[in-house]
């Protein structure tokens, strides 16, 4: 497995391809707001799927150049779950609070044309989800904490419309190695500590994080984007948890380093 990681690092550090006219260059402060529809199956809390809405916000610093894009991003979500139909306040069964980070980079790896590039890279990501099951007592506090190291892929297509350069991006992150923390098999906090924890990879855990962004140019090199995110993970330890999320975001990119 180590050879695989070395190969990835080698490829990413030796590519010298530069993307032309396909990236909005510079340093940006990114602020996103939106909502997600989440679907959770957690065998430690029941046989049902929990479905619900969360409000979500992201803040990030992005540094884009023609041969490297890197970012550090924080995310905060809050909402609730219902166990049957589309959620309403009156029949909420659980509160959900979650957050996370994504620190990563991509480099251009393949050029399809001057407007169309494939970028690749790696990320450290963290996902911390806390669910409070309202009708439960000892086991009301439920959590899934994940720290991932994974691969990034980015398809980036730039096109000209209304006399401006627009950008369509499909970003994907797939973790390779994960450190997880979950409730214990029989009780959430055995010995008053966190329950199960350990390193895992594809044999027990997989995740696909997909983000599609349509970026509109604004004045002063600022941007605004409409984004759709789909995230799914499956952690199959003693209490299986599966989570799917669909999110719509409006994102503003504020240029920080005007020339």
């Amino acid at each position: 497995m180590n050879k695989f990681y070395y190969l990835i690092i080698f490829l990413l550090t030796t590519f010298s391809l530069s993307a032309q006219r396909v990236v909005f260059e510079g340093q940006y402060l990114q602020i996103s707001g939106g909502g997600k529809y989440n679907n959770l199956y957690d065998s430690s809390i029941g046989s049902q799927h929990y479905k619900g809405l969360v409000g979500s916000t992201r803040i990030a610093y992005r540094n884009n150049s023609m041969n490297l894009r890197w970012w550090t991003e924080l995310e905060f979500d809050g909402g609730y779950y219902n166990s049957y139909n589309f959620p309403s306040v009156s029949d909420r069964v659980a509160n959900q609070i979650s957050g996370g980070y994504n620190f990563g980079f991509v480099k251009p790896l393949h050029k399809f044309s001057n407007e169309f590039y494939f970028w690749g890279g790696v990320s450290l990501t963290g996902r911390y989800a806390y669910n409070q099951i309202l009708n439960y007592s000892n086991s009301s506090d439920n959590y899934t904490f994940l720290n991932n190291f994974g691969l990034n892929g980015l398809l980036h297509y730039t096109f000209r419309m209304a006399d401006r350069w627009w950008s369509l991006e499909w970003f994907m992150n797939v973790p390779l190695a994960t450190y997880y923390m979950r409730p214990g098999y029989s009780i959430n906090f055995p010995e008053d500590k966190l329950g199960e924890q350990g390193f895992t990879t594809f044999n027990q855990f997989y995740e696909i994080d997909s983000e599609i962004r349509l970026v509109f140019p604004l004045r002063n090199e600022n941007k605004i984007a409409l984004e759709y995110h789909w995230d799914y993970y499956n952690l199959n330890t003693s209490n299986k948890v599966q989570y799917g999320s669909h999110g719509i975001f409006i994102t503003a990119y504020f240029k920080l380093n005007h020339k």
Binding site: S47, S83, Y136, N138, S186, I212, Y228, Q242, Y243
Partner: protein, 337 residues
């Protein structure tokens, strides 16, 4: 160039139509057969006392499966589960359907209550007793004895040091701690209460966590210690119990029994040594069941009750005369009689 539009369009369609439904566990309908299977499996895999109570859960499941059919009346369905769960003989096992809650309360209904709050309030605490958080207390017989009634481990014990200081100041000969009818609450309060009277660090109880689906899959013992906190107390302590003492109260009595100056008087506690967790069936009914085991220092399981040092029931004549037999006997024990 067109082909790139096609590629992007295709990828977009794939991404937008990405749906976790094909990847996730199938969402079970709320049919009775699904409810039955889920309940049967979760008890089989996670309930912690099948071995100790010598329960053949598989045969119970087999015997009840024919009674279940999709479309059956919800009350009839509930009654099947009620009967199945009743065999677990556990006050921590409940199924809550909203319209009913299954339970087995034989652990106290089959025994004398040994408790009359009116006698305690009117003839012992009387009008001018202290209410310090969850602790109701005063001195008895011209400050000879300290008396504390604690009715729920969900009520605050943050004034326990105040109570001790009051009794020290009055120079009482000993304390009567009355936890009769205390059905439990926060286990941390039980430990805090025991710490307030601990003379040295001692093993309070051992706990075993279910770690797998086989009925004997348990963790190695986790030792829970008690250790002295606050002002030292070395005078006699008598703890009054009845069968309605359950859950955290059984833990409290177990821990207190480790102390050399403690006598437990009354009836065995109701037990309840497994920590319960909750689970939701496909139809939304809430199931609660024990997933841990606990023993005292000697390895004796107290799921079915903590043994008292001296058995005593309320005497009918005493009750008629407004006397609490247990409190009167507790005074004698403190006096060394």
């Amino acid at each position: 160039m067109k082909k790139y539009y096609y590629i992007i369009s295709l990828l977009g369609v794939i991404a937008f139509s990405s749906c976790e439904k094909v990847l996730m566990e199938k969402e079970l309908s709320d049919d009775a057969t699904n409810n039955f299977e889920v309940l049967s499996n979760i008890i089989s895999e996670k309930y912690s006392y099948l071995s100790l109570k010598n329960i053949n859960w598989d045969s119970i499941v087999s015997a009840n499966r024919p009674k279940i059919s999709n479309g059956m009346n919800a009350i009839d369905e509930f009654e099947v589960y009620d009967e199945m769960l009743y065999t677990l003989k556990d006050g921590h096992v409940n199924l809550n359907s909203g319209f009913a809650m299954s339970r087995n309360w034989d652990w106290y209904l089959g025994s004398p209550s040994n408790f009359d709050w009116n006698i305690i309030e009117r003839n012992y605490l009387e009008e001018d007793y202290f209410i310090s958080g969850g602790l109701k207390h005063r001195t008895l017989d011209e400050d000879k004895y300290g008396y504390v009634y604690y009715g729920s481990f969900s009520s605050s014990i943050s004034y326990i040091e105040f109570v001790k200081a009051l009794f020290v100041n009055k120079e009482v000969d000993g304390i009567i701690i009355d936890v009769r009818n205390n059905g439990g609450g926060y286990l941390s309060y039980a430990t805090d209460f025991a710490n307030a009277f601990a003379d040295e660090e001692r093993l309070g109880y051992k706990e075993f966590y279910k770690t797998g689906a086989n009925k004997d899959d348990f963790s190695s013992p986790v030792n829970h210690m008690i250790s002295p906190e606050g002002e030292k107390w070395d005078k006699p302590i008598v703890i009054l119990t009845n069968r309605k003492c359950f859950s955290s109260t059984s833990f409290f009595v177990t821990m207190m029994k480790e102390l050399p100056n403690v006598t437990v008087l009354g009836d065995d506690t109701g037990g309840g040594a497994g920590l319960p967790v909750d689970y939701t069936l496909p139809n939304g009914w809430y199931l609660r069941f024990s997933t841990t085991r606990a023993t005292n220092n000697l390895g004796e399981d107290f799921e079915l009750g903590v043994k008292v040092d001296e058995y005593l029931d309320l005497d009918a004549t005493d009750v008629q005369n407004g006397k609490d037999t247990l409190i009167e006997r507790a005074k004698e024990i403190i006096d060394g009689v």
